[in-house]
């Protein structure tokens, strides 16, 4: 019900921009675009969020890229940290041997 999906706005079908055509999974569908005003004003080729036949808002390419950048950085930072721990562990292993590691209760 509250499910809404991003779709590419192909064109507006009237001068007042009340209706438009979006492409969704290779199919074109006519939707109501009258809510796309102000910050949500959308041009051809941009993406909108479609819900029960209405475009609810514009999908911002810039904001999407920014969120992805943060997510990728978070993922990378964590992967790097795990990598560092691994390197540190293997260095430790070389120094004191695997026995003490087990005794300290660290995961093998």
């Amino acid at each position: 019900m509250c499910l809404a999906i991003p779709a590419r706005l192909v064109e507006y079908v009237d001068e007042d921009r009340m209706y438009g055509k979006v492409e969704l999974g290779g199919v074109q569908r006519r939707i109501n675009t009258s809510l796309l005003v102000g910050e949500d004003a959308t041009e051809h080729g941009e993406y909108v969020l479609v819900h029960v036949g209405f475009a609810l808002s514009r999908v911002s390419e810039i904001e999407a890229a920014e969120t992805l950048r943060i997510l990728e950085a978070m993922g990378a930072a964590y992967t790097d940290e795990v990598e560092q721990i691994r390197e540190w562990q293997s260095a430790e292993e070389e120094l004191v041997g695997a026995d003490s590691r087990e005794r300290d209760g660290m995961p093998a």
Binding site: L35, G38, G53, L56, S57, V59, A64, Y78
Partner: protein, 406 residues
Amino acid sequence: MKFADEFRDADIARALGARIAAESGGRHWKIMEVCGGHTHTIFKYGIEDLLPSNVELVHGPGCPVCVIPMGRLDDGIAVAHQPGVIFTCFGDLMRVPGSEGSLLDARAAGADVRMVYSPLDALKIAQQNPDKRVVFYAIGFETTAPSTALTLMRAKAEGIRNLFVFCNHVTIIPPMKAILDSPDLQLDGFLGPGHVSTVVGIRPFEFVTNTYRKPVVVVGFEPLDILQGVHMIIEQIREGRCEVENQYRRVVHDDGNPRALEVLARVFQLRSHFEWRGLGFISQSALELRDEFAAYDAEKVFSVPGVRVADPKACQCGEVLKGVLKPWECKVFGTACTPETPIGTCMVSSEGACAAYYNFGRYSRARERERVLASGERAVGNGHADGNGNGTIAEHEVRPIPVRAR
């Protein structure tokens, strides 16, 4: 699909899960996802499997089909049976059981019940059938209500007089408040409803941070959105912050969509009270048509029984909707109540927690998770016991899952 696939990256999801595990240690977290759309994503993509077992997602009341009480559905079915009526509704609603059968049963018995994708389809049917009275059974939160409003405005502008709306539109803030006021459930924070927020913005949730001191993060509907939202809530609490944050910036503006709010205000007004399944009557929690649109109001034009009907005794949807009961803890889950033969609403809608558990096979995992939680030996940190005797998880259970290098 653009703006969807990028937010489903498995490696980043695993890394986020591991990061949450590393940073959430020492206590049991309970975070409610308010919206049924989130519940759907969580089960579809197995988000719970990526989270450590001490981070629990509690499923909230934001499933529009689930919260409709049985009496309200009976009223709709009574309208569908009246002569000369074409009854239209979203597909989710067709199999919801009323006290004497569902809308599908009504159709089998001869009523003209049609499934529509959009309220605009109902308008079209009304135009094509001028000798019939076309009723649209409107459900949904603030996400969907503007669509009904715009449809009615267009019907009025075009002089179409044979379209009627049976309005069950509800608002999200009152049930959130009811849950926060309930002693049954102690939550740490909320994943805010992303698509409701495209309309209302993020400011209406400030009462949760100001009055109840719980963080809210409005999140999108892809797996990475949810995981990032969970991380943001945990980060807020760890840093001693309590704010409404917007993770779903690509779609949600802090002030919402002013045009949508304007059409809502033009067509609807708040009802004095409305009955919610599981939550009972909540004042000013739903919308009704303004007097200017009275001629389109199915409740005023048609006579309906208007009787309050209690849920079947075996049904525990109410407790599930409040997040007090896990779907599999319901006595009839998966036995007497299945998506094919549902007893309660939560098993019908794709956004219902029970249907999600059932359809995506998370049932056994959920049991296992519960077992792990229950077996926590040492209570650590400032976690809390819930009503089911499950104490705080022991620290040693909190282990980051292995991360594969990208």
